[in-house]
Subunit: 405 residues, 2 copies
């Protein structure tokens, strides 16, 4: 619905934002979260808000633990939770049922898949990535490089050189779909296609896109992916992460965190590891049941809403925030480092300012929660399910006050 | 207090067990767990019982998540939880503060420490272990072998050959302190000492001992350890695990799951990984806050009770169970595969029987929960904090009925 806010093409006023909220087809979604009324929360890309059902789900699992003890693993589906929840997450990221497993952390999952990618592409020794990629993704890539040894190495090139750098030594192209600092969005379809044409695998970190952007892993031809559960999926503090393996790799994928639940028959306690069929072979240890439950609470909300509608609102929120910064804070020394073009921008706006850290702290004192990222970035994430258009207006108004002190 | 049940030296009766409960200095501890009255739960080595405080702690974290959102990481100590809880667990396993971190699964932690051990002992290429060790520990060891490649290999020898097999190619001796099938206890002090004398590291899996046995890592000279949170520590379904690194290795330990929270300065988001000081460098991703909270609930109960008292009761429970099997079920074809000598026995009794699987199922129908382990083992774990002496009597009585039923 481009142009929904076109009537506000000139100078924006508070009333414009009230009107946008009134007309917002997602304006009922905020009620599915339990958020303090007074808080304007623009940090859902750090830790998402709490689904209203989360506390009850935790209490329900505690009841089942108390009453059924170890039988909970079978009677309450705890053991199957990584795959059942994986099937739900698959619907959010353009994957098929059976291609996603929930569990462990994003870094642990990335380690599994990078090591697996090198095994899937013997004779190729480059892990290709962007300079800069998300720092902890780089740490893990270099840790894989160091552990495998030999010729394997991580190669980081600037974004514009990525396409040319994919060559016949590239085992895997590892990228974060939306840059955590700037919000810049990669073209997953084009890069996955080029990687595939040159015999390389593509591995995507969806931590800053899943839930706010129509991720289409399979239609883009992506091979592998990982993502975080506690940002826009609203899974709670330290919620399990997830990973995706395209079905075509299921029979040959071999990952190094070969734990008991990735075994074909875990309860036989065989001394030899035999990987389970499908994505189940990526599971390592016993599922963290409480974390999976709150993650499912968040994912269930996502599944009720159309991702294209979410993306439309996300784009509008970020565009309007940038317009208001121009309109209200032109003299305050902010640099907008987020892409202006909608198709290049994730669900965040990042501003550079020499006093970024103090400004973020000052805003928090006035009920607006953003994030500071060193050295000089104010980062604001817009979760369309619970961020209101009037929040955008209020946030900029308070930022202006904070800046002028 | 050896001899507490000596008055029952002849034929045991139900009254003997009632008397033991009445005199049990730990008989108040069961009230700290929320257990169904009618259940005789002899499977705490699979999934422990629920601490009474667990549900409230979960609800408290949900409240803090709702209200304080991402500020919870600092304001409620979520970020420090792995080390703060690690310090508590350290007290249960004979480690010092700063040597233990909670998080991830046992298998993930074992992977970290095995890879680290190989780095600490360059030029040595053998991971030495017992045949059979716990299956998933073997899976992980072989996965490390495969990923590192080169000369590194896993060598499994029968228990009696372990000492002779430690040689100048042994990088690490990896053992489970109590065998999960039989309950056999290794001599941690002797084996750690011999490993050390021959230049190898010792790595212990404490999953079946921590909480029911006085584990003394430092006085035994152990180098590394891992353990499970959801068995005798009563941390809840899929609770985080933990790991131990002796302080003398803190400066040189390098582990491959180099995630953001193991970084010296996580919030600088530097592109280069710099390991944190101390055991913090073993932490990988964001802590799973709900799981850590229920684990802490379980650990807090342990800390209120003397581990020597717990071990005394554990030894009595298992000894009496075996005596009753002899007394009541002599004709029923059970073989006791658990060591008879107290000092060789963990907190479990395992019986071999051709109908093991059906018997365990039949017992469960009559309120006695044990575990079947393929191919023919009935496994009963005795958690002294909530298992009563009369539970031992009842369990054997019902087993007798089930066998003859």
């Amino acid at each position: 619905m481009p142009g929904r806010e076109a009537y506000a093409a000139n100078r924006l006023t508070r009333n414009d934002f009230r009107g946008l909220d009134a007309d917002d087809p997602l304006n009922g979604a905020r009620g599915e979260f339990d958020l303090p009324d007074e808080t304007i929360y623009l940090d859902g890309n750090s830790l998402g808000a709490m689904p209203r059902t989360a506390a009850d789900r935790l209490a329900g699992i505690a009841r089942n633990w108390r009453r059924d003890l170890n039988r909970g693993w079978s009677e309450h589906g705890w053991l199957d939770a990584p795959l059942l929840l994986g099937d739900k997450i698959a619907q959010l990221i353009g994957a098929d049922a059976g291609e996603v497993a929930a569990g462990d952390s994003t870094s642990v999952n990335l380690f599994k898949l990078l090591a697996a990618a090198l095994r899937l592409r013997p004779g190729r020794s480059t892990i290709l990535t962007e300079d800069p990629n998300f720092p902890s993704d780089l740490y893990i890539a270099r840790a894989v490089e160091r552990m495998v040894g030999g010729e394997v190495h991580v190669k980081s090139v600037p974004r514009d050189d990525l396409t040319n750098a994919i060559d016949d030594d590239t085992a895997v192209l590892m990228l974060t779909q939306a840059d955590f600092r700037t919000g810049y969005l990669h073209d997953m379809a084009a890069l996955s296609r080029i990687a595939g044409e040159r015999g390389a695998l593509s591995l995507w970190d969806l931590s800053h896109t899943a839930g706010v952007y129509p991720v289409n892993l399979n239609s883009c031809g992506a091979d592998l992916a990982v993502g975080c559960g506690y940002k826009y999926l609203n899974g709670g503090p330290g919620a399990p992460a997830y990973l995706f393996v395209a079905r075509r790799h299921h029979d040959t994928l071999e990952q190094p965190l070969a734990g008991w639940l990735g075994h074909e028959k875990p309860f036989l306690f065989e001394t030899q590891y035999r990987p389970a069929a499908g994505v189940a072979r990526t599971i390592c240890g016993t599922p963290s049941v409480f974390g999976l439950a709150t993650l499912e609470a968040g994912v269930d909300i996502q599944l009720k809403h159309d991702i294209d509608e979410i993306r439309r609102k996300s784009t509008a929120l970020t565009r309007l925030f940038m317009r208001l910064i121009d309109q209200e804070c032109a003299a305050d020394g902010f640099g907008i480092i987020t892409p202006i073009l909608d198709e290049h921008r994730g669900s965040q706006v990042s501003l550079a300012h020499p006093d970024a850290e103090q400004l973020i702290a000052g805003l928090a004192d006035h009920g607006v929660i953003g994030d500071f990222r060193a050295p000089n970035i104010l980062r604001f994430g817009f979760a369309p399910l619970y961020v209101r258009y009037t929040d955008v207006w209020e946030a900029v108004a308070r930022l202006k006050e904070a800046t002028r002190g």
